[in-house]
Symmetry: none
Subunit: 208 residues, 4 copies
């Protein structure tokens, strides 16, 4: 829609752009291709086509397919407290659980799921990236936990095993994500039931 790529105008040959622009174009195309098809089935030709440039130019900006994939995952994971399992512990004390549940389940968009799928399928290709992400995640988790602890101390939440391990309290999100990845729309009834129970259990164990 907004982008005029594909095969519209056969004119305008050899448009010269800044490397960051080209890299962005390529990574955008790569995201679509990789998350649709996985690493192996993705094709450098198709990525170049989608990015609206010659295959050879792709190789000017990325050393090879692996390099491109690594860069892509790197950048996806860098901007993703939101994309995957965003347990953003917002401020307000009342309705905390409801807001938590709603926002986290809303984050499971098709795009986020596609990226999670890619991660699961191909993480082994980019161990360095994953390790970096793991460490970053650990830090984020600690911060989230600290936020929860503060709420507990303030009497806004009840203490207990769930409050002590907020990552565990949100684990059903992963179940739901995987259910959708595997079952698609057919998972929705299951997902709704899960979400309802999740809300109920969190209220039960966290509401003061």
């Amino acid at each position: 829609m907004g982008n005029e790529n594909q095969s519209a105008q056969p004119t305008a040959k050899r448009t010269r752009l800044a490397p960051e622009v080209r890299r962005k174009q390529i990574l955008d195309a790569a995201l679509v291709e990789f998350s649709n098809l996985g690493f192996s089935a993705a094709s450098m030709s198709r990525i170049a086509d989608r990015a609206g440039m010659s295959k050879a130019n792709v190789y000017v900006h990325f050393k090879n397919k692996d390099d491109m994939f690594e860069t892509l995952l790197q950048s996806l994971l860098a901007h993703s407290d939101n994309n995957w399992a965003e347990l953003q512990t917002a401020s307000c004390p009342v309705d905390f659980v409801d807001r938590l549940v709603d926002s986290t389940y809303a984050a499971l968009t098709p795009e986020a799921l596609a990226i999670m799928r890619l991660l699961i399928a191909e993480a082994h290709r980019v161990p360095a990236v994953m390790e970096k992400w793991r460490v970053a995640n650990q830090v984020a988790q600690r911060e989230r936990q600290a936020g929860i602890n503060r709420l507990v101390d303030a009497g806004a939440l009840k203490g207990g095993p769930l409050a002590n391990h907020i990552e565990f309290a949100m684990a059903p999100l992963v179940y739901v994500a995987v259910a959708r990845m595997i079952m698609g729309d057919a998972a929705e009834p299951d997902v709704d039931a899960m979400k309802a129970t999740h809300r109920k259990v969190l209220h039960l164990l966290l509401d003061p």
Copy 2:
């Protein structure tokens, strides 16, 4: 000629076997190949080699790569109350939660994880298989839930949202599985913590 095939048996050419035997050989080989490499990176040649027969003979028994993959997943999922999320609700009343936790976490072997990964990555290729499996799973879940209900009625377990939705109660298993798929061995500390909290919460909410 130029390529060396068959590493194992240099003798025994053109052994004629029953179709079911051959199909079994092929599917065994296919399981290894697909779960190691995913659908696209898997190679029919390598599968044939591993199965100890010619590529052409593979095509006598399976129409094509997709057909083979579908058949494989079909058969994997048919024998898999065990393979994936086996929440076998054994009989004994005492220590129920401990047994449940230990047996389900023990089921997350590397092989089971490889198959789960395959499922997540490639389920979209075989929607018919997945639908069938979903229905079968629904039945199995109802049975498990009925088992739990009976235990609750018998006073062996406490009622409540978790007992009413045992699938939800086991959702953290999926989190653990995914963590291992993505992080490999680096996930173990997280996994241990998860398992411990899981046990604690189940005791808290299910022990009478």
Copy 3:
């Protein structure tokens, strides 16, 4: 002429032939391609075309370009007491030198030169082949030397440094070969002069 390769009949698809036949066809094509262009500039596609088969089929019969090249050189050198520096010490005692000179210079055909050039340019790619050939050549040289020694003992040739080292006596052949490789037809006057002097010197030092 005799072979109907190239692009004559678009019919007759999938002709199935014995592997030795195909390998022969490929090596014939490869000889032309490699000796015309050298290893790097030679193209597998063109070799396949010239051999009248698909590129993929070439790879059924040879593992890769290097394998093909090695096989080609191997087979060329195996049948080449004639091709390169054939110092066949024929039987007759009279006119020995004249026959020797004429036959060896006649062996420097354009084809033989093309192969020599290939050898010089690309020998480093196939050290194993070259070592094998070196050993075989050593044996052949000893036999030739023994033949000469017998002639000397029989009084048919005069002894001396040349008779003791017949390889050296024929070294000017290599000069002539290289001159032709570098200068082409323009080398002919030089070649004629060389040949004449060569004959003169051999008569001078070998005739009894």
Copy 4:
């Protein structure tokens, strides 16, 4: 971007130099590349890298790869009474043969051999250059021959077919060069034998 260039100087961008300097830099790099890899396998990118400038700048100074190669050979052959078969007929009368033999065999350095190999493999690409060189060589040969003739007239050397055709007398050098090109170090025993016989024969036929 994706590719790392320039291993040496990370600084000093866009240094502007006189054309002759740049051409020299390029030809130096080209000599290494071409004599290591031959014409086809040589890469303009690598030459540019080695010359410490951009690929595009190479094309400012040379029309294309062929042009560059032609220029390179031109310049190599221009300064090469030394490089290839330098039969420098030094002045002193005594030990003439020994000096001749030693100096000419010493000239067969690995570098000289690499250039000879290049010449043999790729001479056909630059017929004009070769023709020019041939003519120049003819002149040089005549001069060498005249020098020999003077020595003969002075009684410092014996007359005869070898003295009349000094080019022929040095032909075994080419044999030795080719042997080394093909066999590498394994040629050394052969080379030593050749050199010894060569010396012996020259003494025999030239010493007065």
